[in-house]
Amino acid sequence: MKAIVRVAQLLLLCLLSVAGPARAELTIQITKGVEGALPIAIVPFGGNAGAPDDIAAIVTADLKRSGRFAPLAPSQFIDRPTEFGQINFGNWRSLQVNHVAVGSVRAGGNGYTVQFQLADVFQGGQVMAYSFDVRANELRRLAHHIADLIYEKLTGEKGAFATRIAYITAAPGGRSYALVVADSDGYNPQTVLRSAQPIMSPAWSPDGTRLAYVTFENRTSQIVVQDVYSGARQTISASPGINGAPTWAPDGRRLAFTLSKDGNPEIYAYDLGGGTLTRLTTSSAIDTEAAWSPDGSSIVFTSDRGGSPQLYRTPASGGSAERISFAGDYNARPAFSPDGKSVALMSRSGGRFAIAVLNLATRQQKTLTEGGMDESPSFAPNGSMIIYATQRGGRGVLAAVSVDGRVQQTLLSQEGDVREPAWAPYTR
């Protein structure tokens, strides 16, 4: 029963209908691993040869890049069971893995029936067993879902592999820009908007169905909200001057963004239903890059009212703002963690921009990346990782770092610049 509900959720997730295919997929390269990861074996699924995607390989890659697991290379396997009853636990004990996942793929009906089981090698018992019926084009997402199930069972935290990311690409020379939505591992990229003018600041609605972003399509900035499934677009703001940095309220009914129509950049809240605009900040300096707290109560933003760009916090209803960042001479672009306890930001030290996390209770700021041109951090919906933009070989690429800074990876693209990743929330 639970599995059936999950399949229904998967079907919903797969309805990305209007989008066009993007040219280049991203390839993940793990640049810094972690010790103490859980040893596990994901055995190639039986009958998978006829299926378009290798489920075990996808699950293995997901678990590996989380940094929490150390999947054993298939070349070391002694045997290749495809169901729980075939597992020779002695073999797996000798390979020193704690858990082994087995499964099978059978063609039938309109697609495939996928079964999988997770076993505890030392207890010799079954930990999980699932069966799914999916269409061929859902196999890849199902593999991410299986990785999520294993991740949650063995770490106690919800997985975030069957999620998506949005990002901006810029063709060499700035000739064209695109807003792309892809799986969290960079596969299945779908272009949802292409423009000859810059596209900026994508932000997911809390239900993961819409993206707010900034366009310059009419050579003036505008904030647009686009339904990711239907492609329907609505211009939210096209005031004189800046229309920038949209962020969603957790209720999905309001946006906060930056306008300079009153003379200098200030942050406003906008009610999507009623269209009312409420000004939240008042200073003669730059106020921008609002991030709405997950509990809805406050807004953290970037301001240079103290001389250098720093983070400030103000009630979501407006009022006085309190400075919250103090380390270094440049702290900007806050992004809330899903639990609301911290914000990721870009922080400059020694002329290098790095991704850092600021604990809002203790005000401790911890730098996670080595730095250079690191920017635009975004938390995974389970809070385990932060995806961000950086440069490799003079080109913009995406990278991810675990919140403890121990696991780092780069998502390489084939051409152009990739920037401004936004990790989608869990789809409800």
């Binding site: 020379g173 700035g174 810059p198 900026m200 600041s201 310059f216 009419n218 050579r219 003036t220 900035s221 004189p240 001057g241 800046i242 920038g244 940095a245 930056t258 300079s260 950049p265 730059i286 921008t288 890059e289 970037t302 240079d304 760009p309 440049y330 900007a332 672009r333 870009m346 400059r348 921009f353 041109m373 920017e375 635009s376 440069q391 003079g394 920037r419 401004e420």
Partner: protein
């Protein structure tokens, strides 16, 4: 109908600019911009900067001393105001560029410009949008003191999204910290 009229106006102004500039590419970019902002004067302003004068310096509106040329006939170099790092102060060497365009705009009250602010690549994207706007506003203020009407100017900031020069060193950065005056 409206779209057709607009297309004709854009086409005619493009044709006029092509006749008045030695660098067709950049003039084309500038004119398309201007047409989008205020297409209604597109057909009438050609005479303001002379028939068929060749490119920079020679043609265009009569500029201030020093050979600076304002108006849509100005060369690309004479349509850009550069800034120091982390600054929106107008440098002394930029004054003649602004003055030349201000003179053109005062003499041609039907003309309009877009002041496009840009930054180098350092720092966050939206904060750079704000910095770029600071620069375009600084140019606008100087223009206003020189008599240009507010409604002749529109500000837009591209931040670091549209660098003039690729590259990740000060040589590139100094070319990217700029305001482009686009007709």
């Amino acid at each position: 109908m409206n779209t057709l009229l607009k297309s004709l106006l854009i086409a005619s102004s493009l044709a006029l600019f092509a006749g008045c500039s030695s660098s067709g590419g950049t003039a084309g970019d500038g004119s398309a911009d201007g047409a989008a902002g205020a297409s209604t004067y597109g057909a009438g302003r050609g005479s303001a900067f002379g028939g068929g004068a060749g490119g920079t310096g020679a043609g265009g509106a009569a500029g201030p001393a020093g050979g600076y040329v304002g108006g849509p006939g100005a060369s690309e170099a004479q349509r850009v105001v550069y800034f120091d790092f982390d600054s929106s102060d107008i440098r002394a060497d930029s004054r003649p560029v602004i003055e030349a365009h201000a003179q053109y705009l005062v003499q041609n009250p039907g003309a309009a410009v877009v002041l496009e602010g840009h930054t180098d690549e350092r720092g966050s994207r939206e904060y750079n949008i704000a910095l770029g706007e600071r620069r375009s506003t600084a140019v606008r203020r100087v223009m206003e003191t020189l008599g240009v009407k507010s409604q002749q100017m529109r500000n837009v900031s591209y931040g670091k999204e549209r660098p003039a020069v690729a590259g990740h060193d000060e040589a590139a950065y100094s070319q990217n910290r700029r305001v482009e005056i686009a007709y």
